[in-house]
């Protein structure tokens, strides 16, 4: 009895460790290959290259255009996430704490995009952007993505605002705050944990977005990293070390943010999934 449970324990641990290695190894391999030369990358099987080629990163950043892609990605991510938080928190606050005609209907409407998959919508979205003259512009790409993040943002923030006691609001209003001040100075600071969840969630989503970037953006100077990676791989398919350097540049920020914030991310995902 004792033996079999120890055996079980070892076996379970072994499986988990093997799976864990399979999760991490491709990333380690990616970094390791990014530091090899074009000549050694296919023959040198070492994890830590004896002569790391750090200039691969410089070449990818400058000649490979990843510097531009990187700043574009940072720009899009910051603007989109800021836009989502601003617009979503305003409407979530109003729906949770204020009174106006038809607010429940509006709430259902705004979060309905979370439930209904419309796989062809991007075709019409492209047609719309074309009409508005927003194809191949930063603003077109940004607006589409803000809209994409609103439903979940409103849902998470509204749920959070619902839990804030009404007395806090009333006290602020009695002290002479108007609605905007109450929202800005009372509700928003209190909602910081929920805002964190929305922010991190969308940072990952925007940073990793590819389909819209592919449809909307055709100038290299406007492209984010995911799109840039595909362009680079199309043009220099054999330059593996540089490609791997590009992938590392694309991946490292996400992995760092994830490792720092993983509790928020995972609890956000669980909350979102279990409620939905």
């Amino acid at each position: 009895m004792k033996n079999s449970s120890t055996g079980n324990y070892l076996f379970s641990n072994l499986i988990c460790i093997v799976v864990a290695i399979s999760c991490v190894f491709p990333l380690i391999w990616m970094i390791s290959s990014s530091l090899k030369t074009q000549q050694t990358v296919f023959s040198d099987m070492s994890i830590i290259p004896s002569n790391p080629q750090w200039q691969n990163y410089y070449i990818a950043w400058t000649k490979g255009n990843f510097g531009t892609y990187f700043f574009n990605s940072v720009f899009y991510t910051v603007v989109v996430v800021f836009g989502i938080i601003l617009i979503a928190s305003m409407s979530a606050y109003a729906i949770s704490k204020l009174h106006f005609f038809g607010k429940n209907f509006i709430f259902i409407l705004l979060i309905s995009t979370m439930m209904i998959p419309i796989p062809g919508a991007f075709v019409a979205l492209y047609v719309l952007l074309n009409k508005l003259g927003l194809v191949n512009t930063r603003i077109g790409y940004i607006l589409c993505q803000i809209n994409g993040g609103l439903a979940l943002g409103i849902f998470i923030l509204k749920t959070f605002f619902d839990k804030i006691p009404k007395e806090l609001e009333d006290a602020a209003r009695i002290d002479g705050c108007n609605k905007w001040q109450a929202y800005l100075h009372i509700a928003l600071p209190l909602a910081r944990p929920a805002i964190m969840v929305v922010a991190i969630f969308n940072v990952l989503a925007v940073w990793n977005e590819y389909l819209l970037a592919m449809l909307i953006l055709s100038d290299k100077s406007l492209m984010p990293l995911q799109r840039g990676l595909m362009v680079f791989q199309g043009a220099h398919i054999t330059q593996y070390p540089l490609l791997m350097a590009g992938i590392t540049i694309t991946t490292l920020p996400v992995v760092v943010i994830y490792l720092l914030m993983q509790r928020h991310i995972i609890s956000g995902i669980i909350a979102g999934a279990l409620k939905g």
Partner: protein
């Protein structure tokens, strides 16, 4: 009077969201239906009304579209069975026996955090016929006859892509399953053990029945997520060889950008959307039936 004014200033808070929603969600949604009955190249000023011909063509002529649906269905089937079984199995052992829950949770959720493009490009290399790691490993093990061009061999392309997708996706299920398992009161297990239940009985008689709603939830997320797979396909096979790894989204984009048939692309989107809706409703119905029993 002041109540009306109050209502209006409150309403102003939702105006930005409503505007965004109407322009970027409602309009495209309706536009898809409108375009689906036209023949239009996306540029011309006039569109030719052709009624339901686009839909007729999808059902009668468009073999590639149904192949793509079948391919996505195949990947989804593997994801539902292998991926979710692995996710549950891992969640179960991490929940019951192992120290370092947070460690494993962090590591297993790493692939879902990466983008589909990045994952595809890395695996591209692992699968590469000449210098890919997988072939090198097989040769090193002495199975050089198994080595092949995994992503361009018609026999293995779809399976290889599925494995990438499952590698990237099992962490989702794992995290949700683990949260569900940790919500089960430990007293239940203790009581069962005192009554002499074996670990297998505890698993099949207590744990799994409690987890059924969560199984449904994860299944529905898996189906919707996998059927709409795109990034991994585009960064590995692009749909090839032949149509062996085509999926519905790559077909819609091919109609739109490849052959400039915007109306047809919309019709494909609607048919695909209806299939997804049907699966979702079926799932909800099934879970309600199970719950009421």
């Amino acid at each position: 009077m002041s109540r009306i004014k109050d209502s209006i200033t409150s309403f102003l808070f939702v105006v930005p969201a409503l505007l965004m929603f109407i322009v970027f969600s409602v309009y495209p949604f309706l536009k898809v239906f409108q375009l689906s009955v036209f023949d239009w190249d996306g540029i011309a000023r006039t569109m030719k009304f052709i009624g339901l011909n686009n839909f007729k063509n999808i059902f009668t002529l468009d073999n590639a579209f149904w192949i793509s649906m079948r391919n996505a269905g195949f990947i989804t089937f593997l994801a539902l069975t292998f991926q979710n079984t692995l996710a549950f199995f891992l969640a179960h052992i991490v929940d019951s026996e192992i120290r370092g829950k947070n460690f494993y949770r962090t590591i297993f959720f790493l692939p879902p955090v990466l983008s589909g493009i990045v994952v595809g490009l890395i695996w591209n290399w692992i699968y590469n016929s000449d210098y890919g790691l997988l072939n090198k490993f097989l040769i090193w093990l002495g199975f050089s006859n198994l080595a092949r061009a995994w992503l361009s061999d018609p026999q293995t392309a779809l399976l290889s892509v599925s494995i990438i997708h499952m590698w990237k996706g099992f962490g989702w299920g794992f995290v949700i399953f683990l949260a569900g398992l940790q919500g089960i009161p430990r007293d239940l297990y203790e009581a069962a053990r005192v009554d002499g239940a074996s670990e297998t009985q505890i698993l099949t008689k207590i744990t799994i029945p409690i987890m059924i709603p969560i199984f449904f939830l994860v299944s529905i997320l898996t189906i919707l997520g996998t059927m709409q797979i795109y990034d991994i396909i585009v960064s590995t096979t692009g749909g090839g060889p032949g149509f062996h790894t085509e999926v519905p989204i790559t077909r819609i984009i091919a109609s739109m950008l490849g052959s400039s048939r915007f109306g047809y692309a919309c019709a494909q989107g609607i048919v695909f959307g209806l299939v997804l809706l049907f699966i979702s409703l079926l799932q909800i119905k099934l879970s309600q039936n199970l719950r009421s029993e």
